[in-house]
């Protein structure tokens, strides 16, 4: 998979209440959820971002609730992928299960400003800051997770088996 886009930076411990506040969980319609993506972290996020943009998080991105509405909101808003220093475990499995690409890379998070354009090549395992011509290594995705993505998520993976 290859992605390129502008990055939006968030801090450590971005929780699922910030990604999609519980007051909007009376629906699971992706289009509705997308309207409130990241709202309690940045109320103007949905207005500012463009399809294909990339979210950069710090440590423990997606901590808190198990709500799959969180990766659904991010994906439906048009964000292409999330890069963070680390991910909370339920968010991590939810993302692979439902098909939101996420990447762990510690170095880039400390070396990038908001608004910078980056390119990601998941096959090569690299993230490149385009203007600076700087490249960072992505933590390798475990083979099982790669299989999940290749099959199109957990349920399609099961169907294939």
């Amino acid at each position: 998979m290859k992605f390129s886009g502008k990055v939006w930076k968030f801090g450590d411990n971005i929780d699922t209440d910030a990604i999609i506040p519980a007051r909007y969980l009376n629906t699971s319609d992706p289009k509705e959820l997308a309207l409130h993506c990241m709202e309690d972290a940045d109320p103007n996020f949905v207005k500012k971002m463009r399809p294909g943009d990339i979210i950069i998080g710090g440590e423990n991105f997606g901590c808190g609730s198990s709500r799959e509405h969180a990766p659904i909101a991010i994906k439906a808003a048009g964000i292409s992928c999330v890069v963070a220093k680390s991910f909370a475990r339920i968010f991590y499995r939810n993302s692979f299960n439902m098909g939101l690409p996420i990447f762990e890379c510690r170095e880039i998070v400390d070396n990038i400003a908001e608004g910078t354009e980056i390119s990601i090549d998941s096959a090569k395992g690299t993230i490149t800051i385009r203007d600076a011509q700087k490249t960072f290594a992505i933590n390798p995705i475990p083979p099982f997770m790669e299989q999940l993505i290749a099959d199109g998520g957990l349920l399609k993976h099961i169907a294939k088996k």
Binding site: N13, A22, S28, S65, A88, R89, N94, N97
Partner: protein, 419 residues
């Protein structure tokens, strides 16, 4: 090399002869749980994958506890979708209306989850059942859909952190204070992807209610599960509740841990987690003068009868301070009835408390106790993230029922010792 209780339970649910931390396994699931927020997505995915029948109608639990009693039309539609699915599939453990309680208080109370079980729930606080000596972990809706289809799910075997707790806890110090203190020490990702195993002489004397509160908040340290070795106290709790076979597991003496952390619980005072992270913890004596607008006693963390008894001891012959909304939410109908029979509800009403039906509503800012901008609540719940209980500019302070009750009376964050 010996095995931890977590490794033993996981292994017993596979066909493998040997498993080790880091290994990816497929394991049989004993109970799979969903609620009115997470089950609708799971049901959609289940149907999209061609699901015709759940793997076992006795092993799926659907509990409509979050936005119930239905807070608006959309919530009613979500509940309706889950109800129709439950009827279609003859789901045995389906709870709503006057039979519904907060899922993580309800399932143990009814004996639906038992020691040695492997439990998954599309709710992060599923880890609560670790108090019974079960492996229980929160997952997403797609995981729940996959489990409803196949009765199995993939797991990465976690490493374990062992907590050895000793010392006699002071008056008004509870399991809640212990877990808040632990999260304060290790941080909200201090146990990321790992099992938190609670041991030691303090733990061996701890009530089930306190054990549930502790296991409940393992997720707030990023853990996959929290777990206690079952003992005589566990046995007493499940007596009369268990309607099927169960098994007690315990860790081997030579089991391997990523970390061992010892804590003297005798030194702790009641703890308070300040906004906006459960790890932002201080002793109540260091809280300073923090005026509150609301005190909430309830939730899957602290809505059990023991919690209500503690609150009633403090609220007896006292009243909530003017302009403080005291909300008490017994976690299940059974607890509600017990509180009524023991006269606790009368004590609460005389203290000017609102008694809420069993619901998760207030804890997650759904309904039944929302905060306005600039308002502050002390809550016996488990999360104090930005906007958790209402407006993004409101604040939540996490504490025990004793501190929440004393704070309601004094109108500021306070220790029961101050009364």
């Amino acid at each position: 090399m010996g095995k931890t209780i977590t490794e033993k339970i996981l292994q017993a649910h596979t066909k493998l002869k040997e498993i080790h931390p880091g290994q990816l396994i497929n394991a049989r699931v004993d109970i799979a749980l969903g609620n009115d927020i997470t089950a609708p997505i799971a049901i959609r995915e289940f149907r999209a994958a061609g699901g015709k029948k759940v793997f076992n109608k006795n092993k799926v639990a659907l509990v409509l506890d979050h936005f119930t009693p239905n807070k608006d039309i959309n919530s009613a539609e979500q509940c309706k979708a889950v109800r129709e699915f439950a009827v279609e599939h003859s789901i045995v453990h389906f709870y709503e209306g006057g039979q519904v309680g907060v899922e993580h208080a309800l399932l143990p109370e009814k004996g639906i989850v038992l020691p040695g079980d492997l439990v998954i729930g599309a709710d992060s606080h599923t880890c609560t059942y670790g108090a019974l000596g079960a492996f229980a972990t929160g997952v997403g809706s797609t995981d729940l859909a996959a489990t409803m289809l196949t009765g199995e799910l993939w797991f990465k075997v976690p490493q374990s952190i062992k907590f050895i707790i000793h010392g006699k806890m002071k008056k008004w110090v509870s399991g809640k204070d212990l877990i808040l203190n632990i999260i304060g020490r290790i941080g909200v990702d201090g146990a990321l992807y790992q099992a938190m195993e609670f041991t030691g002489e303090t733990i061996s004397k701890l009530s089930m209610a306190d054990r549930f509160s502790i296991a409940n908040m393992a997720i707030e340290a990023g853990a996959k599960n929290g777990i206690f070795a079952p003992d005589a106290i566990t046995k007493e709790y499940i007596k009369g509740r268990a309607k099927r076979a169960y098994k007690f597991y315990s860790s081997d003496a030579d089991a391997s841990y990523s970390q061992i952390i010892e804590i003297d619980a005798g030194k702790l005072e009641p703890q308070v987690a300040f906004p906006h992270l459960p790890s932002n913890v201080k002793g109540v004596s260091k809280a300073g003068k923090i005026k509150i607008d609301q005190s909430l006693i309830g939730s899957c963390t602290n809505g059990r009868i023991e919690d209500l008894r503690t609150a009633a001891k403090i609220l007896k012959k006292r009243k909530a301070a003017p302009h403080v909304r005291l909300i008490i939410a017994p976690a299940t109908p059974h607890i509600y009835k017990q509180a009524m029979q023991e006269g606790l509800l009368e004590t609460f009403m005389k203290a000017n408390a609102v008694i809420s039906p069993p619901s998760c509503g207030a804890c997650l800012g759904g309904h039944l106790g929302i905060l306005a901008a600039g308002e502050r609540a002390v809550a016996t719940t488990n999360r104090n993230f930005v906007g958790r209980m209402g407006h993004p500019k409101s604040e939540v302070y996490l504490a025990s029922p004793a501190v929440a009750a004393a704070s309601a009376v004094l109108g500021r964050i306070a220790s029961p010792e101050e009364l």
